[in-house]
């Protein structure tokens, strides 16, 4: 007995077993992907759905109202993969191979960017574990520079003889260089161009592989997991590329109304508020732990101290979240605006708010004797608090 999903095929309802629904969903999604850019995409998909519906009707009857998974798989087999007959001719006809990249760019005004050449393939240093001797460092370096890995290994070995620098360098690299997990990253490691065509190509291949596994349930599940991970990997790459190439692509976007001159002030103020909140929370925490009461409000009887701590932290997050969200919105607005380079901006913002916080603490120290005293007491108080926690942990 399995779950049944009711679907709509071209206007009529059909009941499929859950497994059959999954298979059909994959088939239709793959078809839609392959027909991307085809002007008749909608019509072809409707025809396909109708054909599937006809085949479903053939297996249903008065005594059978649900289409089984096996039957769906057979139907998909009969239908065959949707091949875009138009894709080959369109590729020949399109003047610039780079037209395709224009289509996946963010921003509605990508139409102006159709003539833009595709961004040069970005090469990234990754560790490549396939066929690696120890951890793929040499493989990765070789792929990055486009030379034979054996040569890289020789160089490393030589460096080992030069006072062991090779070993140190290798260990450091093995630790900090990320491993190329998804094929998206592997492609970047070898410098394959990251374009929309490339993505479609890989999605197609991945889908074809998936089709082979339909008989075997385990293999199929495994393939789906990996396929989703791949696609997510590409999604992450897209974001990365976006951030890196934002400046280059920005010129082609409809210029958004800029964030305005008030940004430099608003952002640090928001950060400052968040910083103040953090400070407040810290002080509250300290007072709670040392005196068992938050700034004089005693805990309700019987509630242990650590619950109060957790509640305080949660409260901080709840209040800070809208502040963070605002700040994030401002920041991204600025990042894709016409002027600012994102990393620099973020750095400046951090420095400004840190400065504010330090200034505030110093002022408090100077002008509020209470605060001064509290700050003086801070180190022993922290020790005390830590001891408290240790005792509580031991007494559990």
């Amino acid at each position: 007995m399995n779950k049944v999903v009711t679907i709509n095929l071209n206007g009529n309802a059909y009941q499929l077993e859950e497994g059959g629904y999954d298979a059909l969903r994959l088939y239709l999604d793959g078809a839609a992907r392959r027909l991307e850019g085809n002007p008749d995409q909608g019509e072809i998909l409707a025809d396909i759905e109708q054909a599937i519906a006809d085949k479903c009707v053939a297996v249903l009857g008065a005594n059978k109202t649900v289409v089984g998974t096996r039957e769906i798989e057979q139907i998909i087999d009969e239908m065959g993969p949707v091949e875009d007959a138009a894709s080959e001719t369109d590729e020949r006809e399109s003047s610039a191979a780079g037209t395709a990249t224009g289509q996946t760019e963010p921003g509605a005004a990508a139409s102006e960017s159709r003539a833009q050449p595709p961004p040069p393939p970005v090469r990234r240093l990754y560790k490549i574990r396939d066929g690696a001797m120890i951890s793929g460092v040499c493989n990765g370096i070789a792929a990055y520079f486009g030379i034979d890995p054996t040569i890289v290994r020789l160089v490393f070995v030589l460096m080992v003889f030069l006072w062991g620098t090779g070993i140190l360098a290798y260990i450091v690299l093995a630790l900090i260089v990320p491993t190329a997990g998804t094929t998206a990253e592997k492609a970047a490691a070898c410098g394959a161009p990251f374009t929309a065509q490339e993505f479609i190509h890989r999605a197609r291949e991945g889908y074809y592989e998936g089709m082979k596994t339909w008989g075997d349930k385990h293999a199929h599940r495994k393939w789906r997991r990996e396929f989703k991970r791949e696609m997510r990997g590409w999604g992450r790459m897209v974001q990365h590329e976006m951030r890196e190439n934002a400046c280059r692509w920005q010129q082609h976007w409809v210029p958004r109304p800029g964030p305005g001159p008030g940004l430099w002030i608003t952002l640090p103020i928001l950060s400052l508020l968040r910083g103040l909140l953090a400070l407040l929370t810290m002080f509250a925490l300290i007072s709670l732990v040392t005196t068992g009461a938050v700034f004089g409000l005693p805990m309700p009887a019987g509630v242990p101290v650590w619950v109060g701590v957790i509640v305080l932290i949660l409260a901080y997050h709840v209040v800070a979240w809208p502040l963070k969200a605002l700040r994030h919105a401002w920041y991204y607005h600025a990042a894709y605006g016409p002027r600012f380079a994102p990393p620099l901006f973020w750095l400046g913002d951090t420095i400004v708010w840190l400065g504010f916080v330090i200034l505030l603490v110093w002022l408090a120290d100077r002008y509020l004797p209470h605060a001064h005293e509290a700050l003086r007491n801070l180190p022993p108080v922290i020790h005390h608090a830590v001891d408290n926690v240790k005792q509580w942990w031991a007494a559990r």
Binding site: L35, D40, A51, G80, V82
Partner: protein
């Protein structure tokens, strides 16, 4: 590679020509096209046929109208356009030419 695999690209290329011939003979539903091809070496599937038909329609060599069928919803009923007939004639002539070449090549000269 078996014989079947070697001829796959040739069969793919000829499919459009054969579909034109089938539709020229009589107006047909998509199911009829698939049925006529089913027993032959050119048997194909909906996943291949639908995109091909839509491409041919974009090239204006085919057209369809919705027609009630005996069972179920109305279906697309395909027929050739004038341009389609023209193209069919040209392709047939070309086919005669190349199949003649294929036949004659490699034969010892007559006499």
């Amino acid at each position: 590679m078996g014989i079947n695999e070697k001829f796959t690209p040739i069969r793919k290329g000829l499919l459009e020509f054969l579909v034109l011939k089938i539709i020229a003979a009589d107006q047909v539903y998509v199911a009829d096209i698939l049925r006529q091809l089913r027993g032959t070496e050119f048997a194909t599937r909906e996943g291949t046929l639908y995109p091909l038909l839509s491409k041919m329609r974009r090239e204006k060599i085919l057209d369809y109208e919705w027609k009630e069928s005996d069972a179920g919803p109305p279906r697309k009923y395909y027929e050739l356009t004038t341009k389609g007939r023209e193209q069919l004639r040209e392709t047939s002539e070309y086919w005669q030419k190349i199949s003649g070449t294929v036949k004659d090549l490699g034969q010892p000269p007559a006499g």
